[in-house]
Structures are given as C-alpha cells and as structure tokens.
Amino acid sequence: MNDLHGRFRALRAVRAPDLWPDIEGRTPARGRPPVVARWLAAAAALALAAGGLALAIRAFRGDAPDTRAASAPPRPVVVGTTAIPGAYAVVSGEGSVWVGAVATDGGCEGTIHRIDPVTGQTIATIPVEGIASWEVGGGGIDVEPGAVWVAGDVCGPGGGGAILQRIDPAANESEVVADLGAGFAADVDATAEAVWVTVFRDRSEAELLRVDPETGAIEATIPTGSQYT
C-alpha cells in the first residue's frame, strides 16, 4: 500500500485505549515556569529594584534638572495605541499606516487597518477576502497614489486560490481585481503601470505575475525557479 489516503485509513484501524478512567482520576499538572523564565523574572525584579534605588539616591542628592533650552520643535509623538490581533504586515502611504491582520478564528478572511501615524488611532478597518500567509515570507500589501494593493488567498471547496485586491483610500473599501489561480499569494509591488505579484503554486515553482492595474488582466507570467520548502 503506497497511497497516502490508504495509509491514513490503516491508521484509523488502530484501536485507541479507553482513557476516561485515567482522565477522571488524574490530577492535572499545573506546571512551574521553566528555569530560564524564573531566572529572567528574578533578573527583571533586581533591575527594577536597582532603578528605584538610583532614583531615590538622586532625589536625596537634589540633582539639578536639565536646563538646556529646546532648540527645535518637538517631533510628533504617538499618544494612542491600538491592539490589532493577527497583525502580520505593515506599509505606509496616502497619509496613513496600513496594517494587515489575519483572522484569529481560523477564517481565511483578513482586515486592513488604516492608522493615523500621528495619533496612532484607527481611521478605518477594511475587510478583505484574502490575505497573504506570513509563512511564504511576504507582506502582501503595497501603496500607490490612489490605491492600496493587497495580495492574498481565499478558501474554497477546491482548496482556494490567490487573488489581488485593491482598496480605494478615498472610500476605504476593497474589491477583488484579479483571480490569480490556484496557489498562495506571497507579496505585491505596484507601480502606476503594473502590479507585480509573487504566487507559490501547489507542487511547483513560484511565479511572478504582472497584472494590469486597470483591467486586472494577467499580462505576463514569469517562472522564478524558486521553490518553497
């Protein structure tokens, strides 16, 4: 027998033991933190204590404050923070920071978070049908004047495929521009004339696709000779 499905069928024939008596009678392990974690925690505590002591000594000595006059206007400081679960890629353009995030419930969809670079606040949260997987090494997002490009994968009954999406920064809405076929979209780079996308095909080499940004047509397919392992 040398087919994968047949072997997994053979595995299903293996009789599993009844573990319930063990489960009911077992005291679950709480687990102590590993040795390294305990040493790190102790080191952090010592560092905090040393820092506090230094501050106390300085206070008692009455050190003079720094009286140097500021000669340049202060740089903008981000005063807000936004938690973005599943964040995997970031680009900037069109006056914003764009952060791609995967679904954290196992879904194939993703979201692009548009962030104000000064305040750190979220301007918009834009759903997209597919995002790139970090495992292929790319970021999958690029910004050009008038468009934010997102390469990604969609799930489907046959296994899904790669797509190219465009976000209109004026409306904060996304649309699928091109179906790139079976495989995994990795990264995207856009110019005014073309959008370039790398796609890892199932069981074959990665390809570089040139896509017309207006029509979504694939104008060229360039084998790269690179395989993912």
Binding site: L4, F8, L19, I23, P28, A103, C108, F184, R203, Y228
Partner: protein, 152 residues
C-alpha cells in the same frame, strides 16, 4: 474551582477521543505520549469548569500542545514507534515513521486534516494560526510525505 459538568467533557471525549488519540499518535509517533497528552488535556478541561466555551476545540489544541512539550523533553531519547500493547498495521507504522521527519507544524496540519478529519478552518484553530497558513503547512507537508513514502 468548580469542575465542568463531567457529562459535557465526557461527551466530547466519547465523540472525539479516539480520533484525537490516533491523531496525536500520528503526530508524536509514540502511543504513550498520545495517551498521556489526551488524558492530560481532558483532565485539564474538567478542571477548568465553565471557563471553556468550546471544550472540543480547546482539548484538541491542548492535546497537541502537551504532546509537543513531551516530545521536546524527549528529543534526545528517540522512542520506537511500536509499543507492545498497541497493534498497528505496517502501512500505518510507515506513515508515522515518515511523519516524524516533517517539521512539527506541517506534521500537525497533515495529521489534523487527514487523521482527525478536521476541515482546514478547524485545523487552523487547533494550530492557533490562519487558514492560509494552515493550508500552506498542509500542502508542504503532503508533498514532503509523498516524497518520503515514494508515492507518485
């Protein structure tokens, strides 16, 4: 802490426990690791009480996490796949031997999808990753497995 109603967790065990054990066996290559990981996962589920919204999904993740930890602790002591108290047909032994040569994430994805019959979305949830990443691990893992088993 109040223990979860034994019936709810036990129901999950009766419905999915055998499949989970076989999946962890395929992942770890060790029947004793599989038994310990699955038993520990369900014991912890009982202890967590009403805190678990989805005991099924939680125990899958816990069993694989515990098995991974056990394998890490044993990495310098390879364990034979066969155990006297477990009967395994030869094709299954060859499969488990080949699975051992996959990176852990690919091995887990292949096992959860093919041995545990979980759809990709559930595989991703069990691995704590995105569906796209789970599909990638599945594709790579299957390809490598076929090479190891010398399939077309």
């Amino acid at each position: 802490m109040r223990r979860a109603p034994a019936s709810a967790v036990e129901r999950v065990y009766r419905e999915q426990g055998d499949r989970m054990w076989r999946a962890v066996l395929a992942f770890s290559g060790d029947p004793d690791v599989a038994s310990d990981a699955v038993a520990e996962a369900f014991a912890q589920a009982l202890r967590r009480g009403d805190a678990l919204r989805d005991p099924g999904r939680w125990t899958w993740r816990a069993a694989f996490r515990i098995a991974r930890g056990e394998l890490k602790a044993r990495r310098h002591r390879p364990v034979p796949i066969r155990a006297p108290h477990v009967e395994m047909p030869e094709p299954a032994v060859e499969l488990v031997r080949a699975l051992r040569q996959l990176p852990a994430r690919q091995r887990a994805a292949v096992v959860l999808h093919h041995a545990a019959d979980l759809p990709v979305r559930e595989v991703a949830a069990a691995l704590g990753t995105s569906a796209a990443a789970a599909r990638m691990s599945l594709t790579r893992g299957r390809r490598r497995l076929r090479q190891l088993l010398k399939e077309d």
